[in-house]
Subunit: 217 residues, 2 copies
């Protein structure tokens, strides 16, 4: 039936510049062609100088952004702002999967240690093995630190996250390093009845002394 | 409470290039800062050449795109592809609000006439009056055409759309022009019970002879 065409399939009378921009916009995950067209038409209506700024922000990104040589966080220079900061506690390294995890932890303003961004988690199903992630540089950091380092494993509570945590545990157990994981439990403000059984079970097993829970922010 | 910060409010340790790109991306309607960050991080992971293409598609847009001098549709040259096409029926002009309406009608492949894009609809509440839209050039087209022109009003079935339609009716009634509106009725494939009363009422008032409905695509 002709009426059942995808509405933007033919696009034969549209401008080829619109089409190119829609192609590019919809290449981003989660942006479909309809949304892309809406966004592109919004850009068309803007002043050329604003669109220039819009486009430049993305080329600037690729030109200037690097990965921190120490922790693999995003950085404007060879070291990221966390690794450059002399006031942070170098004896604490929080191991996370993704740059966004660093941003989330930083925005809590509760953590003054360092980070190590793995770039993912071990997932044989997706073809991601230890060599695809930045484990080697993590183990170099651990071995070169010597005594007194604590690794906080902040990986996701999934099979892949647990596999990655276990891999780290296996590799660093010969070094004098303390291992911990971020606390799993009921979220602050969450009703008990809505928590899943595994989380609720863990949160009872790993209960905190009452006085401690009071002193926490 | 510190824990209630918006997660991307402080962003103090993030790269300023990331921040600029997130600012730009989230300036688009419907793209929040979280989504923008996700999209920007996706761009960061791409090759520089792909990001270059991505950015260039938007600057190209502003550099090359014009509005058709005849119908105000988007065009790569001073006339759009519809107005340039000598095989289209110049005695039919479909008046629509937006460029996207043209795209939607074109993709049905049922219409071989011309268009006129108003650029919106009369809406005193939003401060949009007749002078803000391309009525003048529509009336010039009507007055210069002479006998035998049909205007198909394809405006939205809202108070603002009806106001705009009525405004056109008032202005062109002195010219030898036929006025029609696109058919309102139950959508093809829609169950009657889910149609709203006004649409259902109109679709009974404006019923079509059965033979005609058969011959339609």
């Amino acid at each position: 039936m002709q009426g059942e065409h995808d509405i933007f399939e033919p696009m034969q009378h549209s401008s080829r510049y619109i089409e190119a921009a829609v192609d590019q916009m919809s290449s981003l995950t989660g942006i479909g062609r309809k949304t892309a067209l809406r966004l592109v038409l919004e850009l068309v209506k803007r002043d050329a100088s604003r669109v220039e700024l819009f486009a430049k922000s993305f080329t600037d990104l690729k030109e200037h952004i690097q990965f921190c040589s120490e922790c693999h966080n995003l950085a404007d220079e060879s070291l990221c702002s966390v690794c450059k900061d002399q006031n942070r506690d170098r004896s604490l390294v929080c191991v996370v999967e993704d740059i966004r995890d660093v941003m989330a932890i930083e925005s809590t303003q509760h953590y003054r240690g360092m980070y190590h961004v793995l770039g993912g988690r071990i997932s044989p199903m997706d073809g991601v093995g230890p060599d695809d992630l930045s484990f080697d540089s993590l183990f170099r950091r651990v071995s070169s630190y010597g005594e007194g380092l604590e690794l906080i494993l902040g990986l996701s509570a999934t099979m892949e996250g647990d596999t990655s945590s276990f891999y780290i545990y296996q590799k660093v157990k010969e070094f004098p390093v303390k291992l911990s994981t971020i606390a799993r439990g009921i979220g602050v403000g969450t009703e008990l009845e809505y928590a899943d059984e595994i989380t609720l079970g863990r949160s009872i097993m790993n209960r905190t002394p009452f006085e401690l829970s009071l002193s926490r922010p």
